[in-house]
Amino acid sequence: MSSLTLSKKLYKAFFITLLLVFALAYLGPLYVMLTTSFKGIEEIRNGNILALPDALNGSAWVKAWSSACTGGDCFGLAPYFWNSMRIVIPALLISTAVGALNGYVLSQWRFKGSNFLFGALLFGCFIPFQVILLPMAKLLAWLGLANTVTGLVLVHVIYGIAFTTLFFRNYYVGIPNELVRAARLDGAGFFAIFRHVFLPLSTPIIVVSVIWQFTQIWNDFLFGVVYSGPGTQPITVALNNLVNTTMGGKEYNVDMAAAVIAALPTLVVYIVAGKYFVRGLTAGAVKG
């Protein structure tokens, strides 16, 4: 360190300060959401958006969770929070399982046309969903699943498979095919090899896939707003309704508490398993 000249040290101090200033800027919105959610409405009107609350007042949180109006009814976000859970959990489990098997076939059991199929599927990661919204609504109505949680699960599974397959295929491609050949010589079949050779190796990519799907589906708004009805809306739709409800005076503290509640599950996942979250983002993003 002694070899560093003074100007280099100054530069370094400047850059680190810059990084910290940016960190504060990125944290700003979360800070504002949290502090606002604990303020009373008078305090919000008279005070400063950056000021800390005078006291920790949790009433906005209680209201946001259990009695705020979200368009049609006034049960707070709670029912919609559970709707989202009922959509997310089955959809992410099914799409991850299907993706794992698909990736296994596409990397280890290739056949004529399998690469073409993968390419065709990959394209699905990129289409703007507006282009399938109308016919999907038709299909759901035809299946009797319009405005149901099951319908939303189905939609998220269908359009999630492209991503989960991509994750598993790119992961399994790194496993030498000799493993499969040796296991086959020992008489193991398709599923036995998957179960005893590939599955035990798959923990990291399963975590990546589950986190990715959890975040994607929990945060979805487009499918939620188009394919849900009263009572089956996911939390993003309910939050948007709550914030844009025009009845009565605006309660910014309730809005912010509701926003934090809607963000909490994915934030917790991110804080607990951030490493895998980043890996999912970059794997889903760059590698084709």
Binding site: A23, I49, L121, F126, V225, T282, G288
Partner: protein, 290 residues
């Protein structure tokens, strides 16, 4: 019989995905394309009218507002997010050995939905009580900051919120790219006496070209699909001043019973995405083979 099944089992396993892809992706795209050539309003109907919906679409001033907004939003969003992401990645890479905490802070907005992002920024940018009031309280009593309700400026609030949400992701991509750069390259450049700036400009950045292109593709993709953020932040308003193609499509197809017109706008969006994605995928796949 068993052998036959065993031999074709891999294909059978893929069959459901193949069928679903064929029907729910390609079939549905075809369905929407067909619909865009009809007069469908409330319900689909199949009397074809040629390019009439597209003519109506491009004669519609609201669509042009949406396209103009998309251009402004996409360019600003990509340029600012790339600049911030690259800057943060380089600063982190050079100055901080243990960057876990900072990286977590820059990236957490990506875990938050666009609806929550929009809700938060709608409050921060609130003309009466947000930043404007804060600056006024500091003594600048004439300060005005009402982009959210200004038809000319509303689109820029969407840029701000989108950059906050996504730039950390660009940072993460660049950072993993930088960490992947061969150290010997950097050492060689330094031995040759290259300055830090020149090392980055001439040695490191060229190696990161694929990361750069990857980031541009993802960001433009996010931009074209942007829907949630507009709905929650401005609702497309004031009026339709901050409409984007995605909100235009939603409004016309689902609220205004203009199904044919909505389908036409969706097809234009698909064409836009394909113009970016197809060359990218093509070069990616070709690059892998050689």
């Amino acid at each position: 019989m068993f052998d036959y099944l065993e031999k074709h089992l891999p294909k059978l396993m893929l069959a459901p995905t193949a069928i679903v892809t064929l029907v729910c992706m390609y079939g549905f795209i075809g369905w929407t394309a067909a619909l865009s050539f009809t007069k469908s309003r409330m319900l689909p109907q199949w009397d074809f009218v040629g390019w009439q919906q597209y003519e109506r679409l491009f004669a519609n001033p609201r669509w042009h507002v949406a396209l103009d907004n998309l251009l402004v939003f996409t360019v600003l969003f990509i340029v600012i997010a790339l600049f911030l992401g690259l800057m943060l990645a380089i600063l982190l890479d050079r100055n901080i050995r243990n960057d876990g905490a900072l990286r977590t802070i820059y990236l957490y907005p990506m875990a938050v939905s666009f609806i929550v992002t929009g809700t938060a920024w709608k409050w921060i940018l609130n003309p009466g009580l947000g930043i404007e009031k804060m600056v006024r309280d500091l003594g600048f009593t004439d300060f005005e900051f009402r982009w959210l309700v200004d038809p000319d400026m509303a689109i820029y609030t969407i840029v701000i919120a989108a950059v906050w949400q996504s730039s950390g992701f660009v940072m993460a991509m660049f950072l993993s790219g930088l960490r992947g750069v061969d150290d010997s390259l950097i050492k060689a450049a330094q031995i040759d006496g290259a300055s830090t700036f020149r090392t980055y400009w001439h040695v490191i950045l060229p190696v990161m070209r694929p990361v750069f292109f990857g980031a541009v593709v993802i960001l433009s993709h996010i931009a074209i699909k942007s829907f949630d953020l507009v709905q929650s932040l401005t609702g497309g308003g004031p009026g339709y001043a901050s409409d984007l193609p995605a909100t235009f499509m939603y409004t016309h197809a689902f609220s205004r019973a203009q199904m044919g017109l909505g389908a036409a706008s969706a097809m234009v969006m698909l064409a836009g995405v394909m113009a970016i994605i197809v060359p990218y995928l093509y070069s990616e796949l070709r690059g892998k083979k050689s």
